[in-house]
């Protein structure tokens, strides 16, 4: 037995390069908000209480195991009941629990007080991305994972923020009370950033609240924490906390971007431009289900290559993409993508792979359809 143990330890030691030992993360991050600090402290408190109880209980037990074994000639005692003892070990844990419950209640009440916020952000979970809508500003964008398929499938080296990187971070100022309103468009998701000590479910049709006041500038990463289907593991959250000045600058930039977007729609688009843009939109928004090559994952997700709707009536095609198919995973993209993106992706699909219809759908067509 001992030899086996020995060998086992050696195997383990070989498995773990010592260089990474230092980098091992064993505990919860302490975080960057007051609530995250109190949460962390509470966690450590409870942990040590449990360790303490464990030491006593296991201590007595192993003492008996060592000293009251038959091989040492121990004779069994006869006692088998004592009401006093039972009462003592009912009451003591009860008191310990009260000692745990009091600080826990305080932290909870703190975390729940989301009144008087400075900034409100509505966060909507989609299969498999997040939408951030700043309720006091005209800012509204989607945020999806930036890690590429090549990285995931081990074809290229993984970036240090593998799986935890997004195209558009949600940006907030430090030292301001930010309130998040969580909801979802399809299934239940959960928005989680450990360093802010926020984890809240995003439930379709309902709204949950949480708030934070970040103390330090930095980038804080988290993930979706509720099983939401195939790409649940690929739905990161990245919060960038910046100073007030940087935040104001960012807000101004975002506004400029949305103006530019609006102008794009007026511009004249060639088929080539639309197809090129459509391909990027497709890869970002649609490929998760319908696959990059349009083959889909039948029967759950239909193939778009050679698909009847895609090759058929343009109106019907636009309808499916813009309004979605209610009651299925096919979401309504009308409120997720701009008119240009919609026009581009529809044009792309009608001309990609083996779909050579030659049709061109312009942003104007899309707008016309949507205003009907």
């Amino acid at each position: 037995m001992r030899r086996l143990l020995h060998q086992f330890c050696i195997t383990l030691a070989l498995l773990i390069p010592t260089s990474v030992l230092a980098a091992w993360e064993l505990n919860m991050p302490r975080g960057v908000t007051d609530v995250s600090h109190t949460t962390y402290d509470l966690h450590m408190l409870i942990l040590w209480i449990c360790v303490g109880i464990g030491v006593i209980v296991f201590g007595v037990m192993f003492w008996s195991i060592i000293y009251h074994r038959k091989s040492r000639g121990a004779k069994a005692a006869q006692f088998h009941e004592s009401t006093t003892v039972e009462i003592i070990w009912t009451v003591i844990p009860f008191i310990i629990l009260i000692g745990m419950a009091v600080p826990a209640t305080n932290v909870l009440i703190d975390a729940y007080d989301s009144s008087e916020s400075d900034i409100d952000i509505q966060v909507t979970g989609y299969q498999w991305k997040w939408q951030y809508k700043y309720l006091n500003e005209e800012i509204d964008f989607f945020s999806s994972m930036k890690t590429t398929k090549e990285e995931v499938y081990n074809e290229v080296e993984k970036n240090p923020h593998y799986l935890l990187d997004v195209d558009n971070e949600v940006v907030v100022p430090i030292n301001k009370k930010v309130r998040f309103l969580f909801t979802a468009n399809d299934v239940v998701h959960a928005w989680w950033v450990p360093e802010l000590a926020i984890k809240k479910d995003a439930i379709p049709g309902f709204i949950n609240e949480a708030w934070t006041r970040i103390n330090e500038v930095g980038t804080y990463r988290g993930q979706c924490a509720e099983l939401c289907g195939k790409d649940h593991g690929f739905m990161p959250v990245v919060v960038k906390a910046v100073t007030q000045e940087d935040y104001d600058k960012w807000v101004a930039e975002q506004k400029a971007v949305s103006l530019a977007k609006a102008a794009e729609a007026e511009q004249v688009w060639t088929k080539e431009d639309l197809v090129a843009k459509g391909e990027t939109v497709y890869q970002k928004s649609c490929a998760a289900c319908h696959m990059a090559n349009g083959a889909g994952l039948p029967p759950a997700f239909p193939a778009l290559n050679g698909n009847e709707i895609v090759l058929g009536d343009i109106e019907k095609h636009m309808d499916v993409v813009i309004h979605g198919v209610p009651g299925t995973a096919m979401a309504a993209y009308g409120n997720q993508l701009s008119a240009v993106d919609l026009a581009a992706v529809i044009t792309y699909k009608r001309n990609a792979w083996d779909n050579n219809t030659g049709d061109v759908i312009t942003p104007a067509d899309v707008k016309a359809f949507m205003s009907k």
Binding site: L181, T183, G205, F206, I207, N208, E209, P326
Partner: protein, 296 residues
């Protein structure tokens, strides 16, 4: 533990359980296939055959199994202790049914006390109303938050017509079945037949009215399974109750036939009692239903 006679009846091997398991597998598998077919359009022959075969075998099994039990009982194999076992298990079975309905009542309560008010902007999570502009919380919920997916209701069932009659029917039937029981205990078999038959008639009438009510709901009131949470809970609760009344009626029918065949004695008639317990349970559920689904 008065009756530990040393002759607890342990039946010999039996084929009925495995037949029952196979029947259940075919019936539920077939139903699953049918439902999936239905989603895609038409039902394939395979699915139907599997489902009906399962049902047929199940019925066959029930006849066989209960037949065995009845003949064992009549040939005096069962000691009072065995009888006690049956009593205990019937009570626990009814308890499990109570829990089944409890879940449904819980859903109704949750919808009324929490989800609908929240969606309408009231209470702790009233913020949800942001997502459903224009939605107002009422109970009965006539217009669901998304009236395109879930059709609005024109009108709900008036509790003081059919439902009231049905309440009277069921309450009366609870009495008649008790009278039948009394009669049985006093060996007045003619009365047993009359009271039991009356109970059965009341039960079946109840079902007929229920069917009528459903037709009314579908055809005139736009109250359907698809009309949001009100319709959902309404049909779930009344539907499962109706299903239990159907089972209860079948049990009563079997009892009636057995009475006609001369089964049961004044002091040995557990089958009869089990049936009447079940019937009372169905009644109590209805009373609750009448109050929380129709009246309030």
């Amino acid at each position: 533990m008065e009756h530990s006679s040393n002759s607890y009846y342990v039946p010999e091997q039996s084929a009925w359980p495995i037949v029952g398991a196979i029947a259940m597998f075919l019936m539920l598998g077939g139903t699953g296939m049918t439902l999936i077919d239905l989603q895609q359009g038409d039902i394939s022959q395979m699915s139907k055959i599997t489902m009906y075969t399962g049902m047929a075998i199940l019925i066959f099994m029930l006849f066989g199994w209960f037949g065995n039990v009845i003949s064992e009982s009549r040939s005096g194999l069962y000691s009072p202790q065995v009888d006690m076992s049956f009593r205990y298990s019937m009570s626990w079975f009814i308890f499990s049914e109570v829990m089944f309905f409890l879940a449904f009542f819980g859903a109704l309560y949750y919808a009324r006390a929490f989800s609908v008010p929240w969606l309408g902007g009231e209470g702790d999570k009233g913020l949800a109303n942001m997502l459903w502009p224009g939605f107002e919380a009422t109970w009965p919920l006539m217009t669901p938050p998304n009236p395109e997916l879930f059709q609005p209701i024109k009108e709900v069932i008036d509790p003081w017509h059919l439902p009231l009659i049905n309440t009277i029917l069921l309450v009366t039937s609870s009495f008649t079945v008790t009278f039948a029981h009394h009669a049985l205990r006093h060996g007045e078999r003619a009365k047993v037949k009359i009271w039991l038959a009356l109970t059965l008639i009341l039960g079946v009438t109840f079902l007929a009215f229920q069917v009528e009510e459903y037709m009314e709901a579908y055809q005139h009131l736009d109250l359907t399974l698809n009309s949001g949470i009100y319709g959902s809970t309404f049909f779930l609760l009344t539907g499962f109750h109706g299903f239990h009344v159907t089972l209860g009626s079948i049990i009563l029918l079997v009892l009636l036939i057995r009475v006609f065949k001369g089964h049961f004695t004044p002091d040995n008639h557990f089958g009869f009692e089990a049936g009447s317990w079940y019937w009372h349970f169905v009644d109590v559920v209805w009373l609750l239903l009448f109050l929380v689904v129709y009246v309030f």
